[in-house]
Structure formats: C-alpha cells, structure tokens
C-alpha cells in the first residue's frame, strides 16, 4: 500500500480568514514572533501497491480538478510518501 500526499494552499492574494483567526490568537499564548499565518489543506491518497508514475499523474489530475480550485488555490506539492497523519503502509 502506498500513499500520495497532496498539499494545497490558498493563493497569497486571497484573504485567509482561518489563518487570520489563528494569527490573532497566537499572541495570547505569548507567541509574538509570527507576523502572519496561512492555513492549508493536506490530502493523503492511498493506493494498493506501489506509487507508480501513473498513480502520481492521476493524483496530479485529481488535485487540479477537484482537490483544489485554481481560482483561489495552488497545488503546492503532489508526492509519493508516507504521511505521519495518514494510513501507514
């Protein structure tokens, strides 16, 4: 069993209300050094067997068509690999 990890972030010019909420709350815990917070999404796609080039290509297509909206988001990476938060191979 293999995994493909897809990371999606809002484009920099799009306001990120969730990230802002986190940014406003951090100083209450004494974290004053962070001037901005952007929050993204991680998808872990699991396949039977190895992560082949075909699997990666399909994951890239899924990332561009459904997992992200190109109007507001960028797919920042699509890679084979384990994700500590996802199902383990």
């Amino acid at each position: 069993m293999g995994n493909v990890v897809v990371d999606v972030m809002l484009k920099s010019e799009i306001l990120d209300p969730q990230g802002q909420a986190v940014a406003f709350a951090l100083p209450r815990l004494g974290f004053n050094q962070f001037t901005d917070v952007r929050q993204g999404k991680r998808f872990v796609l699991t396949v039977e067997g190895e992560v082949s080039d075909e699997v990666l290509a399909a994951a890239r297509e899924a990332a561009e068509t459904m997992l992200s909206n190109p109007v507001i988001e960028n797919v920042v990476s699509v890679r084979a690999g384990l994700d500590e938060t996802g199902p383990q191979a």
Partner: protein, 227 residues
C-alpha cells in the same frame, strides 16, 4: 413553464425555491442530484444549503454530481440557471461563472435582511426589475465572500456582468468582504445568474422583508416565453 429545482444531499432551500416558482406562476419540478436528466425543464434553480456538508470547499463536490453533467452543457447552451447561495458557489466551482466564494472575512455566519442594488436588469432572472432598483432580501451564509482576480473583476464591470451589489452606507463595509461589493454576477449571455442572498425567502406577505424576491421568478417566466 417548468422550472427545475435541484436537491443535493444537504440542500436546505429547495422547498422554498419550489414554492417561489409556484407562487410566481410556474410549475416547479424536483430534480435529483443523482439523476443525469433535467426532465425537459425550461430553467433550473440551484438552491441554498450545505451540499455534501460543504466539505472540501462550498459547492466543490456538488459540482461533480451526475445532474451537473447534464446541467453544465445545457447552461452553456442558454438554459436559464439561477444559483442562490450554495447554488452560486456551485456555479463558480463549475466555472459557469467566474471567481470563487470563500469564508466571510469576519469569520462568522451572517443572517439578516440585506439591501442590494440591481446592477443588470437585462438577464433572464432580473428582467422584471428596473436598472438600479434597490431591493431587500435575506442574506444568510458562512462562505459569502466573492473573490476573483483583478482582471476578472474589471471584465465583469466593463461587460455589465455584476448583477447585484450590496448597498454599503458611507464609511461602512459590505457584509462579507466581497470584492467590489459584489453580491451576484451573470455570464456573458445573461442566462446564468448567481447571487449570495436569497430571493426565494422574500416572495410572500408576512414572511421575509419584502416581496422583492418574486421578480426573479417572474422574470424567468417572461424570458422563457419570449425565448
């Protein structure tokens, strides 16, 4: 005149939309997200709600429902389609309308009577209004902030495709951070219209802030007859 109203898992306002169609004088037709047929309707309403729980992004999963594979080419061919709230989000995710909806800039759900200006009274869903009319209908959403890049916004403005704008008091701000106070837009042809506020909740005496919503539905009846 048969006006279809699509029900997705998580749609909330499909009943009110069908009621609005009926009160305006049309025949409401229930359409199901899992069907790939539009049942020969003359126009379609994508209602408000939280289709598929708004998971991933609002409207993102509904956009790939079987009914959309019939609706998208029909809309491109001129079928009148109105997307209200979640329906507007679905139209943006489908790229039938440009731009996207993200969370309100103040991060809270909003529910209030909202004044709007009708900026384009020539679309299939706004022809019973006068240009510049001010109307009051209900606004209720979490992800109501309309965003698009500057080029798209300029294009919408120059082509008269901003259909509705939020009325903002001097020194005030619009209810959700929408760019250029945009509450609703239309496609080039004027058959596809999406807006965040809810006309279907303002059609009947005693309910809602006005009867302004009714004209959306009477407009499309007129436009279908004349088409």
């Amino acid at each position: 005149m048969r006006i279809g109203v699509v029900t997705f898992p998580g749609s909330l306002d499909d009943h009110d939309a069908r009621r609005a169609v009926r009160i305006a004088g049309g025949e409401p037709v229930s359409l199901w997200h899992g069907d790939d047929s539009l049942r020969d309707v003359d126009a379609v309403v994508l209602p408000g709600g939280f289709s598929y729980g708004d998971y991933l992004r609002a409207g993102a999963i509904a956009r790939f429902a079987p009914v959309m594979s019939a609706l998208i080419p029909a809309a491109k061919g001129g079928l009148p389609v109105l997307g209200i709230c979640n329906g507007f989000q679905i139209l943006c995710e489908s790229h039938l309308l440009p731009g996207a909806m993200i969370q309100n800039d103040h991060r809270t759900f909003i529910c209030r009577d909202q004044r709007l200006t009708v900026e384009n009274a020539t679309t299939a869903w706004t022809s019973d209004f006068g240009q510049g009319d001010e109307i009051t209908i209900v606004l209720k959403n979490q992800d109501g902030q309309y965003v698009a890049d500057q080029n798209t916004l300029d294009e919408l403005e120059s082509e008269g495709r901003v259909a509705f704008r939020y009325v903002v008091e001097d020194g005030g701000r619009n209810p959700n951070g929408s760019y250029r106070d945009i509450a609703g837009i239309t496609n080039e042809r004027g058959n596809v219209v999406g807006l965040m506020p809810h006309p279907e909740h303002a059609i009947e005496e005693g309910y809602g802030p006005s009867l302004d919503g009714l004209k959306f539905f009477t407009s499309v009846l007129t436009s279908v007859v004349s088409a």
